[in-house]
Amino acid sequence: MSDTPLSGIRVLDFTWMIAGTMATRPLANLGAQVIKVESRARVDGMRMGNIRVGDPTNPDASVVFNDCNTSKLGMTIDLGRPEGIALVKQLVAISDVVVNNFSGTRMERWGLDYEALRAIKPEIVMMQMPVMGTTGPLRDYRGNGPHILAMLGFNDATGFPDRPPMGTDVAYPDFSANPNHGAFALLAALHYRQRTGRGQYIDLSQIESTAALLGGPLLEYTATGHLIGRTGNADRNHAPHGVYPCAGDDRWIAIAVTTDGMWRRLRELLGNPDWAQEERFDTVEGRLAASEELDVALANWTHDQDRYELMERLQSARIAAGVTQDVRDLVEHDEHWRERQLTYLEHPELGITATHGEPIRINGQRAELTRSPLLGEHTDYVLREVLRLPDDEVDALYLAGVLQ
């Protein structure tokens, strides 16, 4: 059994920044040949992103680019020239998928819209994933992860009721809804093509794709008129449920009592204090009604305990609990995550950098990742070994400056 199920699929990848490049990352990690196309005049902006090493203009010195583009090939083509566009069209003819996340009409202006691609290869699957979608009155509006979160009501429902609607420092949609919905749609379209021989066009609006992760609260609003708002870490279905202080500065443990049995085991772990024996706490309704009271009592119990030892004790009693880890904790304290996910990549400019592995495991195997491509690193390989152009044609392209 193979752990690279997508061997044999070729993706012509015009994505950049994060939301798009993270859509093709799992495809590449799982064996697809992903050819990332850039031009020297317009490199993927993440090549200039943090953390950087050395010369600030070096396109090969960005750690974040290296994170997002593992296992891909990289080539440069001057898309401002007709010979460059002609070369792209040759690549389209041997590809299964063409994908980009430019806003607006960029692909059209290059003459690489879906109609043009379909004329070259009728069964091509093309996906565009601009922030607002490719149609509609606001299709040219701009934004990225934090803007999407704010617009969709994530911020309004994150954090504590008496605080401003700050949301999160993580550009969450760029890593979750948008790349994964995108990858799923591409694979579904490829499955359909395998059955029918028909390609198709996928329009992924990042605001729609992210709004799809709010299905429960949106349905609640339309059905009952209730908005969830900011409720901290409280939960509608479970109590106690929250983060509780532990020994040390800014040290916390998350505890989620999700069954009555868990409550009984927690009570035992607390040493069966008198207050916890009250009958009203035996049912989730009673605990939900008393959740603030329970939070105070639990915080009293947790505040002088070591967070990892406490997690171990709670987990040994089959109670859902976990430390609110930061990145240092993940690397230094979480042997489990380190063993499953932490990956080091060797890079000629960056040296050794850390990244997370491919979270999708096939047949128990951790996917082998290779580092992201240097700018234009595989141009020659793609022309000679993938497109199989004769030497004189390759030479002519170099000489004409088309491969910039």
Partner: protein, 448 residues
């Protein structure tokens, strides 16, 4: 009910949905592109039917307890079979279901999965072409394999919570069960990848996702890991500033500001009737000044010293923005800034989405008729628009056991066998509109 298109991307796939709340969205992704998703529930009912928030359809509906809205959302387009997996007969039926399926999605705790016969080896021996996907809190290997998880615990352990909120508040979680969504999304991608392997002539396989691994993609990325491994800096929630990861790239890909140690970058500003995300960039100096000048006195940004681009700093914008937007409505900040090509966005409540002209113009929200509730409800719509094989809500989530008989017939069970299974309590044939009842709440899976 709406009219279906002729074609679906996945209507040749049968998916057995054995997930709880962790994986239920993965199965929905398949169902909404046309797969035949059969959700297996206990004859007592699916514990997800008790999840808040609830909707009371009134006595004429015959509902047993108020109906769970998340249940309706996550299970539209699916069929349901009421089957008791605690009986050996029930497991035989499950095996026949699996023998005839393309995909099994399950989210049992690893020891529980083994107990009821859902190990990868066992399922592979039942059906060599099967794609079996296991969704767990911490995975099927490693020292925390047997840990119990939840949405909150996964958000904590993945590093997401410490990056969310204000430094002097406790870490906060994202709303609407994002750990469950994230792991479901990645599980669906992995599952489809192995489906494609089959299409290309290969066999089935086992796909494994952990909530912690899946959600840590959001936090370990953005080079966060290397802030620690290389710079020995630990990014933490920064409230209105985001100092650790501040940098700026212009449209030609050049770094124009920031770098580690730069001044905190502000994102959220208070307007006359709420908040807006405003992220000025030095490359947008002129359009930003033009926009701010429309709102009032922006002369602080037109001082002669700023003629030299090297003298400009993001921090120069903030006091001007703060002063000028304070008396301006959020929607004017949004559209006014975007008219200048600036990345302004409103901080809305979820109610605001229903007014959004872009979502409305593209027909994002979808109405679905619920004959069983005697009403029509409005749902979040398609995450993607596929030109040939559209996403579609075809029918509401099933009643408890609604398709038991139909599914057993699909598996060639005879009338006599079906009657016997029902009599023994292995399956339940009566349909019921089951909601939150005390009996069902006590049937919840307790990981003891």
């Amino acid at each position: 009910m709406s009219q279906g298109p002729e074609l679906f991307a996945l209507d040749d796939l049968r998916v057995i949905d054995l997930t709880d709340e962790c994986g239920v969205y993965a199965a929905k992704l398949f169902a909404d592109l046309g797969a035949d998703v059969i959700r297996v529930e206990s004859p007592k009912g699916d514990p997800l039917r008790t999840q808040h928030p609830l909707f009371d359809p009134g006595p004429e509906s015959g509902a047993v307890g108020p109906v769970s809205l998340p249940y309706l959302h996550f299970n539209s387009n699916k069929r349901a079979i009421a089957l008791d997996l605690e009986t050996s007969e029930g497991r035989v039926v499950l095996e026949r279901l699996i023998g005839d399926a393309d995909v099994v999605l399950e989210s049992y705790h690893p020891t529980e999965a083994e107990r009821i016969g859902l190990s990868a080896d066992r399922l592979a021996s039942v059906n060599r072409q099967l794609v079996h996907t296991s969704i767990t809190g911490f995975g099927l290997s490693g020292p925390h394999r047997d840990y119990i998880s939840s949405d909150l615990v996964a958000q904590a352990m993945s590093g997401l919570m410490v990056l969310t909120g204000f430094p002097d508040d406790p870490p906060a979680r994202l709303p609407a069960a994002q750990a469950y969504h994230q792991v479901s999304l990645e599980a669906a991608v992995g599952t489809m990848a192995v489906i494609l392997q089959r299409d290309l002539g290969g066999g089935g396989g086992h796909v494994e996702l952990s909530m912690q691994d899946a959600l840590a993609v959001s936090t370990a990325q953005t080079a966060n890991l290397n802030h620690w491994t290389q710079l020995k800096v630990v990014p933490l929630r920064a409230g209105t500033g985001n100092p650790a990861r501040t940098f700026e790239v212009d449209d030609d890909g050049a770094v124009t500001a920031g770098g580690h140690g730069a001044a905190p970058r502000r994102t959220i500003f208070e307007c006359s009737d709420g908040w807006a995300v405003i992220t000025p960039r030095l490359v947008d100096w002129e359009p930003s000044v033009a926009w701010l000048s429309e709102l009032g006195d922006a002369s602080a940004l037109t001082a002669p010293k700023f003629d030299d681009p090297a003298a400009r700093q993001l921090a120069d914008f903030y006091p001007v923005i703060e002063r000028l937007v304070a008396n301006v409505p959020v929607e004017r900040v949004y559209h006014g800034g975007q008219a200048h090509g600036l990345l302004n966005a409103p901080v809305r409540t979820m109610a605001g989405l229903f007014e959004d002209e872009q979502l409305r113009a593209r027909g994002f929200f979808v109405e679905l008729e619920h004959p069983e509730l005697g009403t029509t409800l409005t749902y979040a719509g398609a995450p993607y628009q596929l030109s040939e094989t559209p996403w579609q809500l075809r029918r509401p989530a099933p009643r408890a056991g609604e398709h038991t008989e139909e599914v057993l017939r699909d598996l060639s069970y005879s009338d006599t066998e079906i009657a016997r299974l029902a009599e023994q309590g292995v399956v339940r044939l009566e349909h019921a509109l089951v909601g939150r009842t005390a009996e069902l709440r006590h049937a919840e899976r307790d990981p003891s």
